[in-house]
């Protein structure tokens, strides 16, 4: 027995380590909204770097999109072009502020309708994996955020906070496969559960006889207590009924364009 243990010591150690990590994962799965010390430490340490990289990437991206293709023109008309560029840069900045102002106004108007206090936040990062759909925002426990708070944009529901660190939080998007939100079709009040499918959503448990049309708007039903009732969630792109079965297959696209999400509002839990 001792020889066997000695001979396969490394193998036993590796298997034991892998099993203990699986146990850790299984334990953490049960407490999905609890942020572990390790996660909090990593997120706290990375938040300023992430914000800085995000800012720098925005500047480079802006420069690339607006100036890179003008290099040849600049060579021909260097003086005029330089002046022009400065003016363009200023105009661009003003335009950027105007657009941001507009977006924030829309967000505020949207949140005012909710009759709940809300906190604006900036999106500073996306998910590190290609299969999960989460984003990182620049507000955390220091700003009063807690796991479970709903996050919205002017166009509708974004998701809910799942992990919080002092200065940043992770938001589970409605398109994530583990996201399920009680929803209803605004026109007919048909109930169902909107489940994330990556880029789209599906409406589960929509009864076969329910009247669901393409382009119908789905709103949150308020069941479950996370999202306030009536927030725009998605639009119907297809509704199919099989020959048999209790439910119909309904495919949805979220009202929020997650690829261009810059600012969001975190709806704080308590009623105003």
């Amino acid at each position: 027995m001792r020889d066997l243990l000695k001979r396969y010591r490394n193998l036993f150690l590796a298997v034991a380590l892998l099993l203990s990590i699986l146990l850790l994962y299984s334990y953490n799965l049960r407490q999905r909204t609890a942020t572990t010390f390790f996660e909090r430490a990593v997120l706290t340490f990375a938040a300023p770097f992430q914000a800085a990289i995000d800012g720098a990437a925005d500047v480079v991206n802006d420069w690339w999109q607006h100036y890179f293709w003008l290099v040849q023109t600049e060579q021909r008309n260097s003086m005029l072009e330089q002046e022009n560029r400065q003016l363009r840069a200023e105009l661009q900045q003003v335009e950027e502020f105007r657009l941001q102002n507009e977006r924030l106004r829309q967000l505020l108007a949207f949140v005012d309708d909710l009759d709940r206090p809300a906190l604006p936040a900036q999106v500073i990062g996306e998910d590190v994996s290609s299969w999960a759909r989460t984003i990182t925002i620049d507000k955390g426990t220091r700003a009063g955020l807690r796991a479970g708070f709903p996050v919205v944009a002017a166009e509708g529901v974004v998701g809910r906070v799942i992990k919080v660190a002092p200065n940043s939080s992770r938001v589970l998007l409605v398109t994530d496969a583990s996201s399920a939100i009680a929803a209803l079709v605004q026109r007919t009040r048909t109930r169902g559960v909107a489940r994330g499918q990556g880029a789209k959503l599906t409406l589960d448990y929509a009864l076969r006889e329910a009247d669901i049309q393409i382009d119908d708007l789905l709103v949150t039903s308020g069941m479950g207590g996370v999202f306030p009732k009536g927030l725009p969630l998605a639009r119907v792109v297809s509704a199919e009924k099989d020959e048999f079965g209790l439910f119909q297959r309904v495919e949805l696209v979220p009202t929020v364009d997650f690829s261009h999400l810059e600012e969001v509002m975190v709806v704080l839990g308590e009623d105003r």
């Binding site: 990590i21 994962y25 953490n28 390790f38 990593v42 990437a57 590190v128």
Partner: protein
């Protein structure tokens, strides 16, 4: 200790690039997974204890920046590291095409382990519908990204006349004293 911290820094950089820079230019399936390369490199070049510790920390780091619970990426990173260490005994890992093949194999194993764990533990059936179509995208992206990276590294090595920096060569020299 300095090398240990350097690996952690590189891991953090890879994660931050993946979360804050790549999404500006590529869709989720087309973002290269730089952390995977780092794990494979660790498996080829570092001593076992150090590599395991780093794989645990880098996996935890990846979990912290992902929608998954802590432990999933740790398990996947450690499994890949152990597999690479096991394979490196039998392969000529100093061959650049073989390193690319290791990356492709690593991507495949990574996605397989993720899918298995998610289905077994988290009952997340819909994740498979997201993962399967992106598997081909991820393989292609990693193939292109790591080929370019390897070409760049080899060019730089030629330029500076330093050839022993390839993971396999370091491993072989540490292992067999050549």
């Amino acid at each position: 200790m300095r090398g240990f911290l350097l690996y952690l820094f590189l891991g953090m950089l890879a994660v931050l690039l993946r979360t804050s820079v790549f999404p500006l230019f590529f869709s989720p399936g087309f973002c290269p997974d730089l952390l995977l390369g780092l794990i494979i490199y660790l498996g080829l070049s570092e001593n076992m204890l150090r590599a395991v510790l780093l794989a645990l920390l880098l996996g935890g780091m990846q979990d912290s920046f992902s929608g998954s619970s802590l432990g999933l990426s740790v398990f996947v990173c450690l499994s890949i590291l152990l597999l690479v260490r096991l394979l490196s005994e039998h392969l000529n890992v100093e061959s650049p095409p073989l390193l690319i093949l290791l990356i492709l194999g690593g991507t495949f194993v990574q996605q397989f382990l993720l899918a298995t764990c998610l289905v077994l533990f988290a009952d997340a059936g819909a994740v498979l519908q997201i993962m399967l179509p992106t598997l081909a995208e991820q393989l292609l992206t990693n193939l292109v990204a790591y080929t370019l990276l390897l070409i760049l590294i080899l060019r730089l090595q030629h330029l500076f006349g330093y050839r022993a920096g390839l993971a396999g060569l370091i491993y072989q020299s540490k292992r067999h004293g050549t």
